[in-house]
């Protein structure tokens, strides 16, 4: 019990100490967007007369006619009241856009992380158990292969092969086949929503859409995960307590899984947290390639058209998720490793 409460206390403290970072992100993004040389008002003023008047109108509508410090204050005030502004690209409030798109990104990232972990951990364990053998070298090579192809290339190639040539994958047009009707929105995660609605055909359709993009993303993170698994596994296999376990005649499975692997998973957990956050921010290209209606591609479009609000909202969202993920990892770590709570 005391362990839980210390973990909770630690988590609370971590959260409080990450607030300044969030604030920093907020201000930095705001300023960065203001440095962008593009004037969104001009970009969106596309009428045939596109005169000064129309541009001024949009500027006023966006609040760009005010001095930057005032804009910043207003922005902070808006955020305080939960208003992230409105996107010019989609015409919707940013908050609504993010809300509707975030589950897509999260679902994709979670699936990718799951695939990556399910691949990386066995690979890393295998490599560590046969350190220096061909298995080890092969794993290393496979992992290195994964990280050396840009995601947009692997994504396009996967589409070309599995959709266009082989016809195995469904059309890469988003989260679910357009002719499949959507389940009632409960969580926004289609796999969950379909399962809740009991619509297994729909579930299959959504899963099929998810496989290729998730694999594309997973490909890129298998390497760091496998690498850390291997290293951690080597360390724990070489540790004194594994030697103890062996000296006591524990069955090999127990030695490898309960003693070595469980300890080795601790650093993997930390890395998985980092990987998750970076993936979420870095899946811009994957979302683009697979027409995935996620938050990253949304931010990219907004960025290219200097649409401030969505980019700012997106960055804030990502930073918050980063904080939440760190917290989660912290809590999990605190539960998994009794030593942490003492420090």
């Amino acid at each position: 019990m005391s362990q839980l409460s210390t973990t909770a206390k630690r988590a609370g403290w971590r959260f409080a100490s990450s607030l300044p970072a969030l604030f920093g992100v907020l201000v930095f993004t705001f300023l960065l967007m203001r440095v962008l040389p593009g004037d969104p008002a001009v970009f969106f003023a596309s009428g045939p007369s596109a005169g000064k008047e129309e541009i001024e109108m949009i500027r006023k509508q966006m609040g760009l006619d005010k001095p930057v410090p005032e804009q910043l204050l207003r922005y902070l005030g808006d955020i305080g009241s939960g208003n992230l502004g409105r996107s010019l690209t989609t015409g919707q409030p940013v908050l609504a856009d993010l809300k509707s798109r975030l589950p897509a990104s999260l679902e994709l990232t979670f699936s990718a992380l799951l695939i990556a972990l399910l691949t990386a951990i066995p690979l890393g364990v295998a490599a560590a158990l046969r350190q220096g053998s061909w298995v080890d070298h092969l794993v290393r090579f496979i992992c290195a292969l994964g990280v050396c192809v840009p995601t947009f290339v692997s994504g396009l190639l996967l589409i070309y092969a599995f959709y266009y040539l082989l016809g195995l994958a469904p059309d890469p047009t988003g989260r679910v086949d357009i002719f499949t009707s959507l389940p009632p929105r409960a969580t926004g995660f289609l796999l969950i929503d379909f399962a809740l609605a009991g619509d297994w055909e729909g579930w299959r359709a959504a899963a099929a859409q998810l496989v290729l993009p998730a694999m594309t993303m997973a490909l890129f993170v298998v390497a760091p995960l496998a690498r850390i698994t291997r290293a951690a596994m080597l360390a724990s296999l070489g540790s004194d307590f594994v030697r103890t376990a062996r000296s006591l005649g524990l069955p090999p499975r127990k030695v490898i899984v309960t003693y070595a692997l469980r300890n080795a998973l601790l650093p993997v957990l930390t890395i998985a947290g980092i990987v998750f956050s970076t993936m979420l921010g870095a899946n811009v290209l994957v979302e683009k390639v697979f027409s995935w209606p996620g938050v990253a591609s949304y931010a990219l479009d907004a960025l290219l058209s200097s649409d401030y609000a969505p980019v700012q909202g997106f960055v804030l969202l990502m930073a918050s998720i980063f904080v939440v993920v760190n917290l989660t990892v912290d809590v999990l770590y605190g539960i998994a490793d009794p030593r942490v709570s003492v420090e």
Binding site: T29, V149, V284, L304, M318
Partner: protein, 282 residues
């Protein structure tokens, strides 16, 4: 590098052919980067629209692109720019990160806290989007791509150097240096940093590949190096447009070049880790 280290390296490489191949590959790449422009069969920039989009042949080993330029020549010449971008971005973040991180790790205290906050802020950013925003803000010139890549990389180096220095700050030889009359700054710069560098070299090698990919990703969304300069990322990005029409060589060869280079650096980094890992020195 002492002869024993050299011998150790040779021993590692012999037992580790993959690393040996990677090292050879990286060496060849560097050579190509230097002499590339003088050995290519065609001018990598001169267009020849009449011969556009030719598949690979005896004349054009890797086919030609939309403007009839020889893909093979462009690939070779691009090595220099790509390596230069990666190397300068990585060395920039490496130098800055190592010094700042080492100072933080050694002194702790207020500097550490401030830098820690800064690093936290940077880490909380979705990094690729941050790079995009910076390139978009500064303009998509080579130096800005380098700067953006360096900045998003910086937190990792700072943290790494900080951690590495932190574990050594109470080592006997550090205290001995203090007792020998070294100031804190001198301890950091002359004692700690040199000891941390080998471990960071691994990071650098792994990072080089990543930096190339990052630049390629920026190219893909249109924020990369401007045409007609040959650069792998932009070649892949341009080639990607032709995948659907079966002009595979436009994406396959630059993709392969990118892949092999990154592969080289990654395997080399892995190998370096083994060479420098004292636990491997049995």
């Amino acid at each position: 590098m002492t002869s024993s280290t050299l011998r150790h390296t040779v021993w590692i490489l012999r037992g580790n052919p993959v690393t040996a191949v990677a090292a050879a590959g990286a060496f060849i790449l560097c050579v190509l980067a230097v002499i590339g422009p003088w050995i290519v069969p065609f001018d990598p920039i001169a267009s020849d629209v009449a011969n556009a989009l030719q598949p690979p042949s005896a004349k054009y080993w890797a086919g030609t692109d939309q403007l009839g330029r020889d893909v093979f020549s462009r690939l070779i010449v691009a090595a220099r720019l790509d390596l230069a971008i990666a190397a300068s971005a990585v060395s920039l973040s490496f130098v800055l990160g190592a010094v700042v991180g080492a100072l933080c790790g050694y002194t702790g205290g207020r500097l550490d806290r401030y830098v820690g906050r800064f690093v936290d802020v940077l880490m909380a950013f979705p990094l690729f989007v941050l790079a995009m925003a910076m390139v978009a803000a500064l303009g998509n010139r080579v130096e800005n791509i380098v700067i953006a890549t360096a900045i998003i990389n910086l937190p990792f180096y700072i943290r790494f150097a900080r951690a590495e220095v932190n574990v050594r700050r109470n080592a006997g030889w550090v205290e001995a240096a203090r007792a020998s009359g070294d100031s804190h700054v001198s301890v950091v710069l002359r004692f700690l940093l040199p000891n941390v560098l080998p471990a960071m070299a691994v990071q650098v090698s792994l990072n080089l590949g990543w930096a190339i990919l990052n630049a390629a990703g920026l190219s893909f969304i249109g924020l990369g190096v401007s045409a007609p300069t040959p650069e792998w990322g932009i070649m892949v990005a341009e080639g990607a447009r032709f995948i659907s029409t079966g002009k595979w060589w436009l994406v396959a060869f630059p993709g392969l070049a990118l892949m092999l280079t990154v592969l080289c650096f990654n395997l080399l980094g892995d190998g370096l880790r083994d060479i420098l890992d004292p636990r491997m020195r049995t």
